[in-house]
Point group: C2
DNA sequence: GGCCTGCCTTGACCCAGATCAAACGGGATC
DNA sequence: GATCCCGTTTGATCTGGGTCAAGGCAGGCC
């Protein structure tokens, strides 16, 4: 195992490097990634990719939030993934996109054109491995979410979502308190409903209920304080084994 | 791209080779895979792996059906995946299992001990790429299923499940009729319910309803005939784009 | 044969969450 | 300040699917 070197090359300066594709690359590989890297930005609400379209690039979220959405003919929609900063989008070796990607907030992405990226992946086992790892993580997350969608009550669903957002936020500020959490909800009630397989009215009602019961505090409609994370996780209904 | 050769080495005789890890390997690589390959069998109902356990192997289903299941403390369970012949299980580069794997019918698996497999993967880009592809496919399937769980009605859920099983069966007999289908359900009503996020009573009622409405015919409790696949897909409620 | 056991079906009733409808509130624009 | 707009809250009512309960049916065992 040749130790990976995270040098001060330009790619290493990429704000998303902490979890990114290049996490294990050496200076030379970073240089090559850097050569095909570019940034894109989107406004809140803009589509990034439509399901079925050719995807000409892969990339990671730098700032903002994107969502993966599936839609039925009659308009029913289900969000199937939430892309937070450092999350990867794209299917190297795959043709079309399998779902819509939409910018939920203003969004900046760090992209690689697909063909050169695939070529580079061909030559660089690190990257293929890192990608496999990330995809396995996403698969785990998707399957955990299937339990939420299939078996949890509305209240448990809301608590599960809040817990996930709180955890992701906590990961960004290492060393912070983990018994407590405070963050701005990046989603409208409708987006939360689409993620949870509920209606926006039910989301609103359950948010009110959690507030009334002291599980969360709300400042305005979006700013959430969790006085006791254990309590929240309890409300979310845990898996039998972790 | 050096053309892969599928030789008559022993690994090539593995009954699962058609979609397996080794699909693109050359004779030498097949030889190496063969050296670390072995078979395991399980009886219907037996656990293959418990969530959280160390997984000492990866492998593919040869015959039979296994299911991936997640369980909550209070016993609510959600099936998060169905493993049919040629499907791959395992998380190279990952420690514990993230969910229970249970043999739903009698089951034979073709396994590789994990460490040697990972070493081989390290040296063999084909395998890493193939694995990435398979994982991306599984991720797509999982996300499609999230739409089923989150937004479809009980009747649509049942139709979706029947459609999936019919499609997988059709794939095994190429050249067959695709307007019609006939197969044995490999799942009990309870297992179907766990997969669909329903109760077994609802599954039973909706099966009866689909039968009454002529969408399917039932011989015994398990043998299903679909006289018109288009009709079934219609009942399943299609995605807006495909 | 009779009995058990496991799986499935059907009926009666109930409730969580959907649906329909109205009103609130805060920011932007004039 | 008045108006509009959009996201949100809240209330009233409806309903799909859950829950509880009672058989039905087929295969295995005595």
């Amino acid at each position: 195992m040749n130790a990976p070197v995270l040098s001060q090359s330009r790619c290493a300066d990429c704000p998303i490097r902490h979890r990114a594709v290049c996490a294990r690359c050496d200076a030379d590989e970073l240089e090559q990634l850097d050569a095909i890297k570019y940034y894109r930005s989107y406004e809140a609400g803009q589509p990034v990719i439509w399901s079925g379209d050719q995807m000409s690039f892969v990339g990671s979220v730098v700032t903002g939030i994107a969502s993966l959405t599936q839609t039925m003919e009659d308009g029913r929609t289900q969000m199937v993934g939430l892309l937070l900063p450092s999350d990867f989008v794209g299917r190297p070796g795959r043709e079309g996109a399998a779902y819509d990607v939409v910018a939920t907030t203003d969004l900046v992405m760090c992209c690689f054109r697909k063909k050169p990226f695939e070529d580079l992946m061909e030559r660089t086992p690190h990257i293929a491995h890192r990608l496999l790892e990330m995809t396995l993580d996403e698969l785990d997350a998707a399957r955990e979410w299937m339990l939420v969608l299939g078996r949890k009550t509305a209240r448990e669903k809301i608590a599960s979502l809040l817990a996930i957002i709180a955890r992701r936020n906590a990961a960004l500020t290492p060393g912070g308190d983990t018994d407590t959490a405070e963050f701005d909800l990046p989603l409208t009630r409708e987006a939360m409903a689409d993620y949870l397989g509920l209606t926006l009215e039910t989301v609103s009602r359950q948010m009110s209920a959690l507030k009334r019961d002291g599980v969360i505090q709300l400042a305005g409609k979006r700013h959430v304080t969790v006085p006791d994370m254990t309590r929240l996780l309890d409300e979310a209904g845990t898996d039998s084994e972790d």
